[in-house]
């Protein structure tokens, strides 16, 4: 299983389920990367508001903010959002708007 969490909620030991990719498609952090609290600041600097982490890992249980969804639900939510938001994000705020939309739709399709 995977969970979408806010980058501000990263805890030591969490594992990335999906790679972190910037708007140009470059992979900033690969899937499987073990995270630590210091990544909160780094991801904020990169303008990444949310990430997808492995959710069945013991180390994630302390995170109260996490919501668990299947990878399929997240993918379906992304597809719906692509139809609704036809523009490409040009900055971190616009990416945040898209992430908000995904987090809303994923609750419905899960």
């Amino acid at each position: 299983m995977a969970s979408i969490i806010s980058s501000e909620c990263i805890k030591d030991g969490m594992i990335l389920h999906d790679p972190v990719i910037n708007k140009n498609g470059q992979v900033l952090l690969g899937a499987g990367k073990v995270l630590s609290v210091s990544f909160q600041r780094i991801l904020k600097l990169w303008g990444i508001a949310t990430i997808v982490i492995e959710s069945d890992d013991q180390s994630n249980e302390s995170s109260k903010e996490k919501i668990t969804y299947s990878v399929e639900a997240i993918e379906l939510a992304k597809t719906i959002v692509e139809q609704k938001i036809k523009w490409k994000p040009y900055n971190t705020f616009e990416q945040e708007l898209i992430d908000i939309a995904i987090s809303i739709y994923v609750k419905e399709v899960a």
């Binding site: 609704k84 900055n91 708007l97």
Partner: protein, 284 residues
Amino acid sequence: MINYEDLIANNLTIQTLPTIFTQLNDTISNPLSTIQDVVNIINKDQTSVATIIKIINSPIYGLVTRVDTVSNAVFYLGFNEVRNVILSLSVLNLFKNTKALNYFNIVDLWKHSIATAVISRLIAQKCRITNLENYFIAGLIHDIGKVVLLNILPEEYAKMLKYVTDNNFELKDVERQKLGITHEIAGEYLSKLWRLPESLKCVIKYHSSLEFSTEYPQLIASVQLADILAHILRLGNSGRYNVPCPDQILWEYLPLSQGDLTRLISEITPIYSESISILHMESK
């Protein structure tokens, strides 16, 4: 070629604002007016007084102190914002007086407008804008041109909104192509007819084309972002399926930090729900 300006001016439902608003406008623009002059005008209409007090004490304004009189309302919110509350009631009445249509539910547009109003004010608060006057009414009134078109061309415009939603088209393109007018221009004609303040005229005309406005950029930017968030949260229905594209210049006017938008989302729903319930009762 249809003369829309004349059509709007001659439409009985939309042509006039209540006398109280016009009187307030004249009094407020007179530098010799006192608080008592404004209070006296509002107090003449006791039905309005009760409604104004109720709205001002609602979560929309989030006042810490309870306001019980018109003079207190003017003291806490200022002349202009009290006048804006009265204008809000007229705008909501225009929604209410628009005939029910087969292809489009006006209540959904009413909800979208209230959502945009609530979010616009929350954005301004998040950006620590000190003068919050106009942010609620600006959001509420931004799509008034659609209400105008639903009054002057009811079936045709309602059908067009459904066509745009069903096919995920750009509303403005279809409006230009099929009607020869956009809802922004229709709204601009109404704002002239109603003699609305310049700030609101600009919001109505430029809420989806911020880059063309030379005045009130922060107010228009807040409304544009609020409109986008209302679409993302699907609060009401503006008559378009897709989420409007933000103007690149928008972010220059709103001093937001990363994560502010995500944090804002949780604040919107409770205020929106309560506003819907209060304004629904008051516009009955």
